[in-house]
C-alpha cells in the first residue's frame, strides 16, 4: 500500500507538476474535489496507473470515488489487482 501511494505521490508532484510539495500531499488530501488536479491531469493519472499496475479502468471508474485521494487511489488499485489474482 505504501509503495503505491509513494509512486503515485512521485508521479503527481514530479510528472504532473502539482503545485504542492511531497510533504504537503497527505494520504487524504482531496485531489479532484479540491481542483488540485484538473480533468486532463486526472486522465493522465489513470493512464499512469493502468500502465504501472497492469489494471484497466472501466469508463465509469474514472471518478472522484476512486481518484480523489492517495488513500482512494491505492485502495482502488489494490482492489483491481486482487480481482485479477
Amino acid at each position: 500500500m505504501d509503495t503505491i501511494k509513494g509512486k503515485v505521490r512521485d508521479f503527481l508532484v514530479g510528472e504532473l507538476n502539482l503545485p504542492i510539495s511531497q510533504e504537503e500531499l497527505k494520504d487524504d488530501t482531496p485531489l479532484l474535489s479540491s481542483r488540485l488536479i484538473d480533468s486532463i491531469s486526472a486522465l493522465l493519472l489513470v493512464e499512469f496507473l493502468e500502465k504501472q499496475y497492469g489494471i484497466e479502468f472501466k469508463p465509469h471508474e474514472v471518478s472522484h470515488d476512486n481518484l480523489d485521494s492517495l488513500d482512494l487511489i491505492a485502495a482502488f488499485v489494490e482492489d483491481k489487482q486482487g480481482g485479477h489474482a
Partner: protein, 506 residues
C-alpha cells in the same frame, strides 16, 4: 407565434410514446411523460404566483428533472435562468439578485443553502411529489427592470467589470436558430442527440430545442460524464447517438483518452463543433474516425446565438493547414465588418470587426444601459451586435476568424474576460495589484497566468490559499493555470498594467 414554449406540447402530440430524454444510469422518459412532468412543474410555479415575464432560476445537476424544469418554466410563461451547479454560491446569488429572479428551483440541499444566503428575503416551498424545492424571492427595488417582451431565458457570461452580464434572449431570438438548425441538418424523430454542454452554456439550446422540435431523443450527459472522454466515447455506442455537438476541446480529449477504437460510432450522422478554433490535425483525425458523419463548424457568441456556419468538406485537402473559416451568415443573420468608424458589406480581402444584425441577436444585456451602448453599432435603423471578433473575408466570400479585439479569451469553449479574474484577485486582502494574461502556446492548450503584487512586497501568498480564494469567486474554468508573485507590477506610461511586459515574463 414562434416560441420555444409550445415545442414540447407539439412533440408530445405527435410522438407521445417516443423516447424524449435519456439519463445514462438513470432511465428515460417518453414525450408524453415529459409533458406531464413539465406541466406539473408549470402548474406548481403558477400556484406559487409566478407570472409571465418573471425570471425563474434553477440550480440542478443535468438530469431528466432539470430538462423538465426548463420546459416547465417556459410553460408557465416565465423565463429560465440556468445556474452552474459547480459555480460558487456567491456568483449564483449575484445572478439571482441581478435578474431579480422571482424564484429558484433547486435540490433540497442547495435550496436550503440559498435560503440561508437570502434570509428574510425568500420563502421555501416543497415541490409536491418531486425532489425539488422552490425558493420564492422578494427582491425589493426602487426601479423596475427593463425586461423585453417574450423573454425565454437569460444566460450569464463573463463580464469585464468583474461581474457576469445577463444576456437576454427572447423566444424569437432562439426560435429562428432552432428552426433553421433542424432544417440545415435534416433532423428527424429518428435522431438521437447528445446534450454535453451544461444548460447555462448556449450550445445547450440546440440540444434541447432542436431535438424537441423534431421529436428526437436527447441523451443528457451530466457535468462529470462530460469531462470523462472514456464515458463519452462509450455513450455514443450505448445509445446509438446520431447528432453530436461539442467544443473542439471535448473532441480532442476524446481522441486522446477516449479509447475510441473500442466502440461502434457508425450511428453518428451529424457532428457540430463551436466555441473555439479547431486546429486541422485533430479535426482530420476525428473525421477519419467518424468517416460517415457530416461535420460543421458553427460560430456565434451567446449574444447572437449561432450566426454563421461552415460545412467541412468530407475530405480535408492535404495542403490545408489553417483552421476552417467560420463561414457564411445563417439565413436569419446579417453580417458586416466594422473598421474604425465605418461598416462595410462583406467582400473578399476585407478585414474588420464582425457585427451581426437579425432575428437571433439578443435584446440586450440586462440592466446595463452603458454596456448596451458599447455592445451595439447603430446603422440602417437597426442594432448590430459588435462581436469583438476580428475576421477576414476570403476569396470565396467566407469569413475567417483572426483574433479577439479585447481581452476576452476562450478556454474549453468558455468565454473568459481576463479582467474578471483580475477583479476577483483584487478582492484579496493581501493583493495590491493583479495582471492576468493568456498564452497560446504552439500546439498546446491556452494558459492563463495571473501576476500579482502584494501589499507586503515580499509576502507571496501560499498557492493553495490563493487557489481556494479564486475558486470561491469564480467558476473553475476561469481559474488561472499559474500564479506569479511580483514585487511590483510593470506599468505603462499611463500607469496602467503593462501587459506586454507581463507576456514577456511568462
Amino acid at each position: 407565434m414562434h416560441e420555444l414554449k409550445g415545442l414540447l406540447r407539439q412533440a408530445a402530440g405527435r410522438f407521445p410514446e417516443r423516447t424524449a430524454f435519456i439519463e445514462p444510469e438513470g432511465g428515460s422518459i417518453t414525450y408524453a411523460g415529459m409533458l406531464e412532468l413539465a406541466s406539473r412543474l408549470s402548474d406548481f410555479l403558477l400556484s406559487q404566483g409566478i407570472s409571465p415575464g418573471d425570471r425563474v432560476g434553477f440550480c440542478l445537476p443535468k438530469s431528466i428533472l432539470s430538462a423538465a424544469t426548463v420546459f416547465g418554466i417556459l410553460e408557465s410563461g416565465a423565463a429560465y435562468v440556468p445556474l452552474d451547479v459547480e459555480a460558487p454560491a456567491s456568483r449564483n446569488s449575484y445572478i439571482l439578485e441581478n435578474c431579480r429572479a422571482r424564484a429558484l428551483l433547486a435540490t433540497p440541499g442547495l435550496g436550503e443553502a440559498y435560503a440561508g444566503q437570502f434570509q428574510g428575503r425568500c420563502v421555501i416551498r416543497e415541490a409536491p411529489g418531486l425532489p425539488l424545492v422552490l425558493l420564492v424571492f422578494d427582491f425589493q427595488a426602487a426601479t423596475p427592470l427593463e425586461i423585453p417582451a417574450g423573454l425565454a431565458y437569460i444566460l450569464y457570461t463573463s463580464g469585464s467589470t468583474g461581474m457576469p452580464k445577463g444576456v437576454l434572449i427572447t423566444h424569437g431570438n432562439a426560435y429562428c436558430f432552432v428552426e433553421w438548425a433542424g432544417r440545415a441538418f435534416g433532423i428527424t424523430e429518428a435522431d438521437v442527440f447528445s446534450s454535453i454542454a451544461p444548460f447555462h452554456f448556449d450550445l445547450s439550446v440546440f440540444d434541447l430545442f432542436t431535438a424537441v422540435l423534431h421529436g428526437a431523443a436527447v441523451v443528457l450527459i451530466n457535468h462529470q460524464m462530460a469531462k470523462n472522454p472514456m464515458q463519452l466515447a462509450a455513450l455514443i455506442d450505448d445509445y446509438r447517438i446520431s447528432v453530436w455537438y461539442a467544443t473542439p476541446t471535448t473532441l480532442k480529449m476524446m481522441l486522446r483518452f477516449g479509447r475510441m477504437a473500442r466502440y461502434r460510432h457508425d450511428s453518428l450522422r451529424i457532428v457540430l463543433f463551436a466555441g473555439e478554433v479547431f486546429p486541422i490535425p485533430p479535426l482530420r483525425e476525428v473525421m477519419e474516425r467518424w468517416a460517415g458523419a457530416g461535420f460543421y463548424n458553427l460560430y456565434g457568441p451567446t449574444e447572437t446565438n449561432v450566426c454563421t456556419f461552415h460545412p467541412i468538406p468530407a475530405a480535408i485537402p492535404e495542403a490545408q493547414k489553417a483552421p476552417f473559416p467560420i463561414g457564411r451568415a445563417c439565413p436569419y443573420a446579417r453580417c458586416r465588418l466594422l473598421d474604425g468608424e465605418r461598416s462595410y458589406a462583406l467582400q473578399p480581402g476585407l478585414e474588420g470587426e464582425l457585427i451581426v444584425a437579425g432575428e437571433s441577436v439578443m435584446a440586450g444585456y440586462l440592466n446595463l444601459p452603458e454596456r448596451n451602448e458599447q455592445a451595439f453599432w447603430w446603422e440602417a435603423g437597426e442594432n448590430w451586435y459588435r462581436t469583438g471578433d476580428i475576421v477576414r473575408v476570403n476569396a470565396e466570400g467566407e469569413m475567417e476568424y483572426l483574433s479577439r479585439k479585447d481581452r476576452m479569451v476562450k478556454r474549453h469553449g468558455y468565454r473568459i474576460e481576463l479582467g474578471e479574474i483580475e477583479s476577483a484577485l483584487h478582492r484579496h486582502p493581501d493583493i495590491a495589484e493583479a495582471g492576468v494574461v493568456s498564452m497560446q502556446g504552439e500546439g498546446q492548450d491556452m494558459q492563463i497566468v495571473a501576476f500579482y503584487s502584494t501589499i507586503e512586497p515580499q509576502a507571496a501568498i501560499p498557492l493553495l490559499s490563493l487557489t481556494e480564494f479564486v475558486l470561491q469567486q469564480l467558476p473553475a474554468y476561469m481559474a488561472p493555470d499559474r500564479f506569479v508573485h511580483l514585487a511590483e507590477t510593470p506599468k505603462t506610461a499611463t500607469h496602467k498594467v503593462n501587459y506586454q511586459a507581463l507576456m514577456q515574463m511568462v
